[in-house]
Amino acid sequence: MTRTLDLAGGASAPPAGPRRVRRSSTRAAETRRKWYEIIGLTTPAIAVYVMFVLVPMGFAVYYSLYRWRGVGPPTDFVGFDNYVLAFQDPIFLDALRNNAVIVVGSLLVQGPIALAVALLLNRRFRGRTVFRLLVFVPYVLAEVTVGIMWKLILTDGGTMDALLRSIGLGGLVQAWLADLDVVIWTLLFVLTWKYVGFAIILLLAGLSNVPHELTEAAAIDGAGWWQIQRHVTLPLLGPTIRIWMFLSMIGSLQVFDVIWVTSVPAVRSLGASATMATYMVDNGFFARLWGYGNAVAVILFVISFVAALLFQRFLLRRDIQGALTGRAN
């Protein structure tokens, strides 16, 4: 996938664009000039990208092999001990399980809701713009704001409890954020609230690209609403759904902000509401176990990367290239 870049091979580059070239020396000068432009224009982006995305990734692997408190250069080489330790820590295994719950839960809950809403609202109606605006609000709010908002609403004896009691559902009242068995489901609910609007907007955008002629032709052929959705619209929506699934999965694997802000540290430290990312920051940054934290970072990275590649290989295929880069190519 990552072939080496050949930015220096100027001499063997294909001739430049549609310019009229009169002499071979001008052509050489022109080729050289083109390469100066290419290098000049792309170097800043490549440099920033390499420096702040790729280099840290490399350092994570290096640090993860040491027991290191973050002061001075790492010297206490421990091999893969940090990785072994992580997989032996029940809290980390809880975090892994929680990430799995969030990945699967987000797909299973948000997917059908978003699909139903998008299919039903896939037509022009009065107030559509306002509706789109309102549904998108949770997605645009900062994760921190959302977390604190729900923390206040879900606090013991708070608004949620009062509301449930007032409509006669007092029996449902839980210690939403303190009960070790409940908290992950509460967090899944908050995440759903935050991100389902994104799924709806994405699917509505995908639906607006489904040609009218097709659904109209199906209707003329006597297909009912359900049949049209099932056999015409849904298949055409496939790429959009798969892109949403992909984005949702990657987001769920690295989820941090909402979990960190909404859940109480004590509950998190028991594993009930930890995710890989919160576990990594808790142990690496705050407990200053830098080698260990970096090992967790590498695990998180490998899991995400493998999941992304598998998804690409089996589900996405060329959607990203074909759909993300549009028709222009």
Binding site: E37, T145, A219, F305, A328
Partner: protein
């Protein structure tokens, strides 16, 4: 439009559903904003009630006594810096990837799109260590530079097809008039690609405005804290001041909501572009 569609039935159901979804989306937000007009004793006595009487005190307190304004300023500086960086670097790189023919072009594109495949947040610990060793922590750069890097892949993916679509004839015409490729980038491409640039700019701005994890690690200096850090600190510092937290949280939402209302078309347009196919 509606009349040309084969299905007009189900309108009441559709409106009911639209209303329900919209209500669930904004009810908690409204609750927080309205709650800011109550006093903490009011809230404790009746968590789901309305303000009685309405008090302005919480909002006034947050606006005059807290660090709200300096944090809003920090957020603005960081978000504008990030946006500027992403747009400039992204445009230059995407321009080359779209309009130059050279060996290794597709490899370079793949290299950038790889960034979409994995969470940049995974490398946050070594990133922090690196910034610390470079003595960059507790500066705006510590947030701006990595955020530019995180946003580059999606920016290039959105911009490239847009720039490719600019007709070749325009470039030829410009060449005949003596404008080189760089002049074409500056004088023709830049104005023509304004909509796409606004889209990627808005996406980068919103991502930066809401960012939490990176600022949390690299900005320990309270004077440099951005709004998300401020909201979080305020809520854990004054746990018993529920009304104050509600007011602070509401005020922190306002810029995002305003900004979003103004640029909703660009955000949705960007997403629409992203799933076109």
């Amino acid at each position: 439009m509606t009349s040309s569609r084969p299905f007009s039935w189900g309108n009441p159901l559709m409106y009911a559903l639209a209303l329900a979804v919209a209500a669930v989306s904004i009810a908690p937000v409204v609750y927080v904003i309205v709650g800011g007009f109550r006093t903490t004793p009011q809230i404790v006595a009746d968590p789901a009630g309305l303000p009685d009487p309405w008090v302005w005190d919480n909002y006034q307190r947050v606006l005059t006594q807290s660090d709200f304004w300096s944090q809003a300023w920090n957020s603005a500086v960081v978000a504008l810096g990030t946006t500027l960086g992403v747009v400039v670097l992204g445009l230059c790189a995407a321009y080359v990837l779209a309009r130059y023919t050279f060996r290794g072009r597709e490899a370079l594109y793949t290299f950038f799109t790889l960034g979409l495949l994995f969470p940049a947040g995974a490398a946050i610990l070594p990133l922090y260590l690196m910034l610390r060793d470079l003595d960059l922590t507790n500066s705006y750069y510590a947030v701006i530079l990595p955020q530019v890097a995180f946003s580059l892949p999606i920016t290039i993916v959105i911009l490239r097809p847009f720039l490719t679509a600019i007709p070749r004839e325009l470039e030829d015409a410009a060449a005949i008039d003596g404008t080189g490729r760089l002049g074409f980038l500056w004088r023709i491409t830049l104005p023509l690609s304004k909509p796409a640039l606004v889209t990627v700019g808005v996406l980068a701005f919103v991502a930066s405005w809401n960012a939490f994890l990176l600022p949390l690690l690299v900005l320990s200096d309270v004077d440099l804290h951005t709004l998300p850090l401020g909201v979080q600190n305020f809520s854990s510092q004054y746990t018993s001041d529920t009304a104050g937290i509600l007011a602070f949280t509401s005020l922190a939402m306002v810029p995002a909501l305003l900004f979003f209302t103004l640029t909703e078309k660009q955000i949705v347009g960007g997403l629409q572009g992203a799933v076109k196919g």
